[in-house]
């Protein structure tokens, strides 16, 4: 009985994602980021040590963090991953053994290298060449994806979320007519430190 209950979701995961796992990315990403943001927004709202003006920045910052993360994931991380995969698949980047094979058969492949409909996966029949190609493709794709994910979530997302949250905080301050100190340059406030 318990085994059957467990097997149903396991079968569903195997059927749905073992061949094409990218389908699950949307749902797990959205669920993960949304629940994380909801929890963080709750924490900001119920933190008595934060002022309302600060909350008016931190809440939109957290909301935009989730939205920008999801958007940047598909735009930059996934985009970078596909770009890197295609570079290897179309032979734009190829290990020496594969490059030699393409050179030897340039009558067949010279004009096809770099074309998006060309796939080395369909061309390489020699197991040694296939192994070399897959090794380089896998390493290249993983390194690119890590780099893109760092760029997307740790550099572009914070810039986007801060810009959007700053605008929303300004609107709040203007609506409530609150006086806050004007933003100024760090360490420059007309005084000298000793």
């Amino acid at each position: 009985m318990v085994k059957n209950i467990l097997k149903k979701p396991l079968n569903w995961i195997a059927k749905s994602f073992s061949e094409n796992p990218s389908k699950m990315l949307i749902w797990t990403g959205v669920i993960g980021w949304t629940t994380s943001s909801l929890a963080q927004i709750g924490a900001i709202l119920f933190n008595p040590k934060l002022k309302n003006e600060q909350k008016s920045f931190l809440i939109p910052q957290e909301t935009w963090d989730a939205m920008a993360n999801i958007g940047m994931f598909f735009l930059i991380t996934k985009g970078g991953q596909l770009f890197a995969q295609k570079l290897f698949e179309t032979g734009k980047i190829a290990p020496k053994s594969v490059r030699n094979f393409l050179e030897r058969n340039k009558d067949l492949y010279k004009d096809r290298i770099g074309k998006l409909d060309f796939r080395l996966d369909d061309v390489l029949k020699n197991p040694k060449l296939m192994k070399d190609y897959k090794t380089y493709k896998s390493i290249g794709t993983t390194f690119t994806t890590v780099g893109c994910s760092i760029l997307a979530s740790n550099i572009i997302t914070p810039i986007v979320r801060n810009n959007m949250a700053s605008k929303m905080q300004n609107n709040y301050i203007q609506a409530k007519n609150i006086e806050v100190p004007q933003p100024n340059f760090v360490n420059y406030n007309g005084s000298m430190r000793i």
């Binding site: 195997a14 061949e19 074309k115 550099i155």
Partner: protein
């Protein structure tokens, strides 16, 4: 993929990468133009270098190692970006920077062991050739296994999908009961420290205008 600070790498089959419709054709044209201007690259072959890169790649593909990489870089870049956001006043900037540090530390401290736990459980309980009692407990039915998990890539995808799903389900709870309270606790501690530092600085400041 990225889930609240973690990326899962999937061996994608791009056969079905469709460039259909008006937008698809537009992106295909742009992509093709970018590829046309790029030179052909042949990386230097070095057995030692490839082995090293493969080792790093294996590590980076694990969800918990990935969380550590993303969390570590987040700790370097995000507080800096928050603190130099000159569109808000200094007090808000400091609070935002402190909250970001607190959030990254709390989420990494909670998310890392959860990801590692489920990764290890799924690895141990999805062994096709295993003979121990629970070594096949998280594998699907034999008929599904034969039809959908035909090679190591499919098995790797299945394991990643399963461990990610389990981790996400648990993190739906831990986000509220662990991450958020810990973030609040660390934020308040850091804010108190910043306030003390500012107070000390103000005391030791001499205004040049007297």
């Amino acid at each position: 993929m990225y889930i609240g600070g973690s990326v899962m790498y999937v061996q994608n089959n791009t056969d079905n990468l469709a460039f259909e419709g008006r937008f698809g054709k537009f992106f295909r044209r742009i992509g093709q133009k970018a590829f046309d201007v790029m030179p052909e690259i042949t990386p230097k072959e070095s057995k030692k270098g490839i082995e090293k890169a493969k080792k790093y790649e294996d590590g980076m593909s694990k969800p918990h190692v990935n969380k550590l990489i993303i969390g570590g870089t987040a700790l370097v870049t995000q507080p800096f970006i928050d603190y130099y956001n000159h569109k808000v006043d200094e007090e808000t900037r400091t609070v935002a920077k402190n909250r970001t540090i607190a959030k990254v530390v709390a989420c990494t401290a909670v998310g890392l062991p959860i990801r590692k736990l489920f990764y290890d459980i799924v690895q141990k309980m999805t062994d096709k050739n295993g003979s121990k009692r629970f070594s096949k407990a998280l594998l699907p039915d034999k008929s599904v296994l034969r039809k959908y998990i035909k090679n190591d890539t499919h098995l790797k995808n299945y394991r990643n999908a399963l461990s990610t799903t389990l981790a996400i389900l648990v993190m739906c709870v831990t986000n509220f009961v662990l991450d958020a309270p810990l973030t609040t606790h660390f934020t308040n501690k850091l804010n108190a420290k910043s306030a003390k530092k500012k107070e000390f600085e103000q005391k030791t400041e001499v205004n040049i205008y007297g």
